[in-house]
Each structure stands twice: as C-alpha cells, then as structure tokens.
C-alpha cells in the first residue's frame, strides 16, 4: 500500500513553492497517505487485463480547423490579474528556478 513519507511531502511542497513547517508536515503526510490509499483501492478491483482508462468515451481524432477565432482584448485578458504592468501580468519574484 502506498505510504507517502514526510520527505516526499516536503519535496512536493518545494515543487509547488509552498512553505510548510515541521508541524504542518507532520499533520499533512499521514492525510496524504490516506488519500493515496483510497485511490489505490481501485487497483484491487482492476485486473491485469483491464487497460487503464484516460477517457470515458471511445473517441479519437477530434481536430479543429486551423482558422483564427477572435481573441480576448488585452483588457479582458488582464481583468482577473491581481497586478498588471505594461499590459503584462505582474507576478512575484521567482526564486531559484528558471525555465
């Protein structure tokens, strides 16, 4: 049965840029384990000959014509942004990472 360690939760928190203190890690790690166990119970009923399903419908090749549709205006696109500068989304400083 899956058991998620405290270190794994810390690593996930790092990836998600969430700061968790020791008390929070102690609190969350067992909870995440319970969630994983619940999901894993599916594998108890799924036998080897049943392929994993990623889509409920047996449909393939749904394609769109390569035709331009109107976009949002910049005002509309930025209307939900907490902060804007120079018609761009202003986001906080990004630490220790770069794409």
């Amino acid at each position: 049965m899956p058991d998620i360690s405290r270190d794994e939760v810390r690593h996930l928190a790092d990836l998600a840029r969430i700061e968790l203190d020791d008390a929070e890690l102690d609190h969350l790690a067992p909870q995440l384990s319970v969630i994983l166990e619940s999901v894993a119970s599916i594998s108890a009923v799924a036998a080897d000959e049943i392929p994993p399903t990623s889509h409920p419908l047996p449909v393939v090749n749904v394609f769109r014509e390569d035709v331009v549709r109107p976009s949002l205006t910049a005002e509309q696109a930025l209307s939900g942004a907490p902060a804007v500068e120079g018609q761009r989304f202003l986001v906080p400083r990004i630490l220790g990472d770069e794409q």
Binding site: E65, A74, Q87, R88, F89, E98, Q99
Partner: protein
Amino acid sequence: MSHTAPELLTFEDALERFDPAMGLEVHVELNTNTKMFCGCPANFGGEPNTQTCPTCLGLPGSMPVVNGKAVESAIRIGLALNCSIAEWCRFARKNYFYPDMPKNFQTSQYDEPIAFDGWTDVEIIGDEGPETFRVEIERAHMEEDTGKSLHVGGATGRIHGADYSLVDYNRAGIPLIEIVTRPIMGAREKAPAVARAYVAHLRELLLGLGVSDVRMEQGSLRCDVNLSLAPAGDGSLGTRTETKNVNSLRSVERAARYEIGRQAAILAGGGSILQETRHWHEDTGVTTSGREKSDAEDYRYFPEPDLVPVAPAREWVESLRIALPEPPRERRARLQADWGFTDLEMRDTVGAGALPLVEETITAGAAPQAARKWWLSELARRANELGTELSALPITPADVARIQALIDEGAINDKLARQVFEGVLAGEGTPDEVVASRGLAVVSDEGALGEAVDRAIAANPDVAEKIRDGKVAAAGALIGAVMKEMRGQADAGRVRELILERLG
C-alpha cells in the same frame, strides 16, 4: 551571481582523455495560423496579451481542441526524419509551478510521442572533404510553447535577483514540435561541428517542408545541447548537462565546445559533473549553472483528460509520406548536376540562402550562371547593405530573369542592368517599366552610334593616329569617350568594332 569563468581544459587535451556524447533537443514553432489547442492567432510580434483566450489562459471551464493542421505538420516532420508514426498516442500534462504557463502545466506528450525511432544523415566538411554522420532520432512529439517573461529589477535583468516578472501569454499555446536525438557518440573532435550541422540540416529540412519559419533569432527554432563525457574508449555515458538558450548555429557549436572543455577540467581534477540545466551566454561564450534538473517524476505526467487520443489513419500517413518534398541533400545534388555548378558555387549559393531564389530564376528562363551571379553579387550586396535576407528584397526571381533576358536581347548591358536592379528595388516598377521610365535602353541606332564615333575620332586626332599606326589598345580611350557621350547606353563591343572599321 558570479560569472567568473571556471578552468577549462583545452579542446585537444579534453579529447585526448574523454569521449563526448551529445543529445540535441530542438524545439520548432510551427507556422500554423492558430495555436495548438485554441483559435488564437499564432503569429509573432503582437502587442502583449492580445492573442489569448480562456483556453490558453487556463481559465476554469475552458476546453482545448487539437489543431488538425499541427498534427499534420508533426506527422510530416516525423516522416521526413524517417520516424515511425504512432498508431495511437495521447497528450499528457507536464505539471510544474512557474508562471510562464498560466495553467500550471504544459500540455505535451510523454511516453507516447507521435513520431519515434527515426534517423537523418548530416553532412560536415572535414579535412578530407564532405563526411556524413547518421544522427538517430529518438522521438518527435507535440506540445505547446510557453509565455514570455520579462524580469524586472535586480542587477542583471535576468531572473536571479529580479524583483518581479511581467508575463505576456501571446506565445503560450503556440504549437511546438520537440525533436530529440539519441546520444550522438563517436564524433570525437567533430562533435561540435556535427551539432551545428545537425541543426542547420534540420532547419533546411523544416524549411523545405514549409512547416515553420525556423528563425533562430526570433526563437521559432531553439536548441538545447545535452553533453556528457566518458573516459576515452570506455563506451559508457557520463553525467550530462543540458545547456539551454543556444539560439544560433554558431552558438550550438561554441556551446558544445565549451562544455567539453569545462567538464573535462572538472573530471580531470577528480571532480564529478552535476546533472543540471546550464545557460549559454552568447556575449561571453560561457555556460553558467541554472537549476538542478527536475526528474521526470517531479513533473507528475499524466494523460490529458480534456483531449481525446490521436490515432492517425494509415492512409492519411501514407498520403502525407508520398507528398513529402525531396530531401535537402538529394535536391541539392540534383540541382547542382542540372545547373553545372562547382562544389564551391553550390556551397556559396546554399550558404547565402539563395537556393530557392536561384532555382526560381532559372525556372523563369535565366541561364544558371546568370541567375547565380545576380543573386550572389548585386543582390547579396544590397541585402547586406539593408541588413535583410535575400528573400526579403522587393524583387522577384521573375524580375531577375527578365533583366537577364533584356541583357541577352541586347536591349541593355550589364552596367545598365545594375541601374534596372536599383529601380526595381526602389519600387519603380517592373524591369521593363524601369528601363522605359529611366530611359536605359542601349542605343542600337547605328546612325547615332556612328556619328558619336566620328565625333570622338575628330576630337582625339592623336589617339586616332595611334590606332591607325596599329596601336589597337589605344581604342579604349575612344570607346570611353563614345560611351560617355551615349551616357553608357551603348554596346561597348559594337563601339569598338565601329572605331576599328574606320581606323583599321
């Protein structure tokens, strides 16, 4: 952060002790009208955040739909790289937390790429002439580009030390094909040249397919260079670094060379290589440490539930295969033979990006050497002055062919032709219109020409006397005088004949 250059081993010393292995990842932005999963325009250079919609902004409730044209381009790229095309494949979510994707994931393909197991032959010019290297293609998969971040504040303007970032999502969602090679081994000291030749070759191939603008300076073709070293003759693979931001052919070669020297110095000193992303700095010619590379499991890939699988019908794939253009190398060889160009002439033509232009000019009726001459001399010079590509000059191959035809007909000479080029480039109209409006036609009126010759002889009796005495070389002075009087609009050969007729 410190940018002091670390110690390097010279390239020669490095190769004495180590064998480099390279993996090249090339990202190609497709030139579709719209983005990968929505109908926003996919063109370059719009005002910030004017090419977005709920889908590419990742707003709740929006649903992506695959661009069929992008799938077609992906299949054609795969076929041109001799890949197998998946009978069934899916998109996957690559999860990460970085604001260049508003969705917090990038829609990509994980273990089911649309194309896989291919190869392509790359040519480098070695000491003993052209050499062919086979580069094996591991996969080519479909994904979407990310938004563009501008880092504000901080000492360098780069991300480290930035106070905040500004993001433009116009580019987020533009169809991207990532082409990944298998490790390229055994190239030894030619590894950097092979890397460069591979990217140049891909660019030509993609241009031939017409699927991308492949402009490295605009980022529509980007290359990551993965490089590792193993002890010479060992045949193993060492720990690799992934150098990003390598955005010119020259940089691909330089970055590979630099990493060989840097890693060799560390390994020779008993150190070990950290698996990490590194950044290439065009200005200083060094790579610096980025972040430690995330493992695939950190991205927690899973099949994209909002998109149905892609299962290209075999008939479709075969029809695309049949319609593929001739591969670049075969095409070049065929054209060179047809045109009778030397290796050097062909290489210069290709290098100047003039191949399609020369070809069209020849198709429009010009002799191959004439077509080559105009594009590589007069027009290359003009393009250079204007800082533009040959293909961007406001003149068509048909115009060039027409100007050459006017020369062949004797209506103008080479010198006048230069003025016709000037006029056409200045937007004065077609070659014929420029000849008419500028009054450039050669005077073929024998009477007028004869009178001009007579006047020149009368005005230069001493020169005339020399020619009568058999000093034919002196005729040059009289020809010059006649051409001047005719304002260049005469056939110099005919003028010479007329002078010698009179004085011979």
